[in-house]
């Protein structure tokens, strides 16, 4: 990671002058999913991570395309193979007026993995890392092995105060007594199920927020969220249902903001069982699992009309995918195109692999997790049936689906043969999907934890592992791209499309769409 330095001191000074002139303006946002706590380390979950960013800052920020930016750290660099040095921003104050220093960082890193009753711990990102205070504005993070993704991992942790936060319980954060950060907004109130209110932090070190007060209201039902916007209850809503997009586009009083996400929707295929439970011969008899043959997997990829999925199922609100992340992300390959729709080629390839007669299988997918997930599974099944792979569809609620897809069969093995899933790259670069989806399932190293097809290719594994040891950015970019190319060439998984997210606001407001799907008040701008 190259040394980063921001010229924010000047900017902060200018903004401090203009902050007094900002008028009192209230913004109300309708959220699709509700955060489960105000404690930034309680639950590693999108809605929580988005909301706590209003109150708390992180050492390393991610911009709307998840590129790393200086946050409470002004710069970071690897001083040797095992040590990362973070220089902290001086002159930053918590909402209670206390100064931000290295002590806050050290105690945050100690607390974050150890919150009692945490449903999903931040320990995942802090494993094998130790933090050390060098002086008030310098900290060192150390690892046992060279680790290039330090800044990415550190960007998941929100910094709390040594004095008020580190010893506090989750309840104290929820009640507000401990919800004291350095962020652009101050905590006002949290009423579960009802609303979360924050107010402008006039002394914010960065760009002062436009909004004097922001209220977040969870409205889980899609049609109700749209109605709440049209009725003027809220100024902006997240996650507009794709079926409502066309209607809203025609309304003058509503403005849509769209942007591609870091989430790829893909198909995973059983590549580890000789007899796969949901694959049968045309006559219903057992056959050797055809999905183990790379030609069959490629034929499936060619048989899928991605443009049709995007246009008809997703109503134009998605991008066809040819790899694990959309262009512009770190580690994507420039050499990969979206696989072209070629049903004749697919049939020929199936015949070459010895399946001229075709075979039968079932596609399993969730029906309440991704945008239009059940309908995508149906479309894929129809397309495969057209080239001779007679495909049945079975969808189920995510609460049932993910458990079965991950460890539903005997020996905690994946239960299904052919599944539809999605993956959002939280770190904002390609090692995230490569490590979890493509690398061989390996409990000891912690790789391949979501490799539900159990694809395994030693050469790809080697590329991924080397990338995860390479601190040099340019070299790591090449390694990640090479690993992606090899994985796609082997049809380890078949990406279909990238989700595009849609926000809707009343006329005059625009949202700077984020790839991490966060809804942030700081991203709502007036036109």
């Amino acid at each position: 990671m190259k040394k980063m330095r921001a010229a924010t001191a000047v900017a902060a000074g200018l903004l401090a002058l203009s902050a007094g002139a900002v008028s009192a303006e209230k913004l109300t946002i309708g959220l699709a999913s509700e955060p489960t706590a105000m404690d930034p380390h309680f639950h590693n979950l999108g809605p929580n991570n988005a909301l706590t960013l209003h109150i708390f800052d992180r050492l390393v920020d991610q911009d709307e395309r998840q590129r790393l930016m200086p946050g409470l750290a002004v710069s970071w660099e690897a001083v040797d193979d095992l040590t990362w040095e973070f220089k902290l921003r001086e002159g930053v104050k918590f909402h209670d007026g206390s100064d931000f220093t290295a002590d806050d960082v050290v105690c945050t890193i100690e607390r974050a993995p150890n919150v009692p009753n945490s449903p999903s711990s931040f320990g995942t990102y802090l494993k094998g890392k130790t933090v050390e205070k060098i002086d008030d504005y310098t900290v060192h993070f150390k690892t046992a092995e060279p680790y290039p993704l330090m800044a990415n991992d550190i960007s998941t942790i929100r910094i709390i105060s040594d004095e008020t936060g580190c010893g506090a319980t989750t309840e104290e954060f929820n009640s507000g007594t401990a919800a004291i950060g350095t962020g652009p907004f101050k905590f006002v109130s949290y009423t579960p199920g009802e609303s979360i209110v924050v107010e402008r932090n006039a002394d914010y070190w960065g760009e002062a927020p436009v909004w004097s007060e922001v209220e977040f209201r969870p409205i889980s039902s899609g049609p109700s969220r749209v109605a709440a916007l049209l009725a003027g209850d809220v100024d902006m809503i997240a996650a507009v249902p794709t079926t409502d997009i066309a209607t809203l586009e025609g309304k003058d009083e509503v403005q849509l903001s769209q942007g591609v996400s870091n989430r790829v929707i893909y198909l995973h295929m059983d590549q580890f069982r000789e007899n796969s439970p949901f694959v049968k011969a045309m006559d219903g008899g057992d056959i050797k699992n055809p999905l183990m043959d790379v030609r069959v997997r490629k034929a499936i990829s060619m048989a899928i009309n991605r443009d049709a999925i995007v246009e008809r199922v997703m109503e134009g609100v998605a991008l066809p995918a040819g790899q694990l992340l959309p262009e512009g992300f770190f580690g994507v390959s420039d050499n990969l195109d979206v696989v072209a729709y070629d049903p004749e080629g697919a049939k020929a390839l199936l015949a070459e692999a010895g399946y001229a007669e075709g075979f039968q299988m079932t596609i399993h997918g969730p029906n309440d997790r991704y945008i239009n997930d059940a309908r995508i599974a149906e479309a894929v099944a129809q397309m495969l049936t057209r080239v001779g792979i007679k495909t049945a569809v079975e969808t189920m609620p995510r609460s049932v689906y993910f458990g079965r897809a991950s460890r539903g069969a005997d020996g905690d093995l994946p239960e299904f043969s052919f599944i539809l899933v999605g993956w959002g790259a939280g770190s904002g670069e390609a090692s995230s999907p490569l490590k979890s989806l493509i690398h061989t399932f390996d409990s000891d190293k912690g790789f391949g934890s979501s490799n539900r097809g159990r694809h395994s290719d030693p050469e790809t594994d080697a590329l991924i592992e080397e990338a995860l040891r390479t601190v040099d950015d340019a070299k790591r970019q090449d390694l990640l791209a090479a690993a992606t190319e090899r994985a796609i060439d082997n049809a380890a998984i078949i990406p279909t499309h990238f989700q595009v997210n849609t926000w809707a606001a009343k006329a005059g407001l625009k949202y700077v769409a984020r790839t991490d799907e966060y809804t942030l008040a700081t991203g709502v701008v007036k036109e």
Partner: protein, 325 residues
């Protein structure tokens, strides 16, 4: 009366125990909460740790015994998602649901009974026929659809009331409720109406049928012969008699208003127990689902008991029977 209540309580206890078995096993054999909780970035160790922390590595009967042990001490388990005691979480969301159900019940009584009375007294008038036709719609239209239509009409098109959410609350006589503020009342109107529609129809039909039946009874004829005013006959004699079935049914329906406000709460983003339940089901927050169902079982039992007691107050025959027994 005492014997009657004791017998009722014993029956209730049996129902609670049986329900705990059905509910616990029913909820715990479906799905896998682990993958609903852990971050996708979690590795195999994190997942194994989460399974152990939730106690899901134990056999299900052992999980049930642990649940029962906690339940006897008033602990129905911690929410997987919020980490708080499930009971506390539900109690926290209960006032919102109670005020919604109460308002809906009041609407049902205030609107349903007079309309039913009118339709029963003047059954041939066109207005009565209109009322009865309307009540059929109230019965047959799906709640979620009516809810969205109400929002579209009253909130989006006319802009009279807000579309979603609960308004400001105020404290009066120690009760914090949105019923005590104008903002709160404007917020509760639509969801309460939506929830009440079915009950209004029910009240209309029950009242109408009761009135029609009572008008032909000897005591009404006798009262007429005695020269009582029509007003006195209807509001004292007829009403008192037809209220027995109406009170019974409305009482029981109050339980279903509380228990099944799920759809209305979801559509109107009303922060009540129903919304909590549906979220808990979607995310497989098992302790909350189990605790919720157990609370609803208790509710029904208590309401039935109250209805029985009210019934005996309204109808002297019930009291006499019990004394005889």
């Amino acid at each position: 009366m005492t014997v009657f209540i004791i017998r009722r309580l014993l029956q209730a206890l049996l129902v609670v125990v049986l329900m705990s078995v059905i509910v616990f096993f029913g909820v715990n054999i479906v799905g896998d909460p682990v993958y609903m909780l852990v971050s996708p970035d979690a590795d195999q160790d994190d997942i194994a740790a989460a399974i152990a922390r939730l106690g899901l590595d134990r056999p299900i009967w052992e999980q049930y015994l642990l649940f029962l042990k906690g339940a006897l001490q008033g602990d129905l388990g911690n929410s997987f998602i919020f980490g708080e005691p499930a009971l506390q979480l539900i109690m926290h969301h209960m006032p919102a649901t109670m005020e919604l159900a109460f308002t809906a019940l009041m609407l049902a009584i205030v609107i349903g009974i007079p309309l039913g009375l009118y339709a029963g007294l003047y059954s041939e008038s066109p207005l009565s026929k209109g009322i009865m036709a309307g009540s059929i719609l109230g019965f047959s239209l799906p709640t979620f659809w009516v809810g969205l239509m109400l929002i579209m009409l009253f909130a989006v098109e006319l802009g009279w009331v807000p579309a979603t959410g609960r308004g400001d609350t105020a404290t009066f006589l120690g009760i914090q409720s949105s019923l005590f503020t104008p903002d709160g009342l404007s917020h509760i109107f639509l969801p309460a109406l939506n929830l009440a529609l079915l009950k209004i129809s029910l009240a209309i039909r029950l009242t109408r049928a009761g009135v029609r039946e009572a008008l032909g009874q000897d005591y009404v004829k006798y009262a007429r012969a005695k020269g009582l005013t029509t007003r006195r006959i209807i509001f004292v004699h007829v009403m008192k008699n037809i209220m027995i079935p109406v009170v019974t049914v409305m009482g029981l329906e109050f339980g279903s208003l509380i228990g099944f406000s799920v759809v209305t709460e979801t559509i109107f983003a009303w922060p009540g127990m129903g919304k909590l339940l549906i979220d808990a089901i979607l995310q497989l927050d098992r302790p909350v689902v189990v605790a919720y169902l157990m609370i609803i079982v208790l509710f029904f039992i208590v309401i039935n008991l109250i209805v029985d007691i009210l019934y005996s107050l309204l109808d002297p025959r019930v009291r006499l029977q019990d004394q005889g027994a």
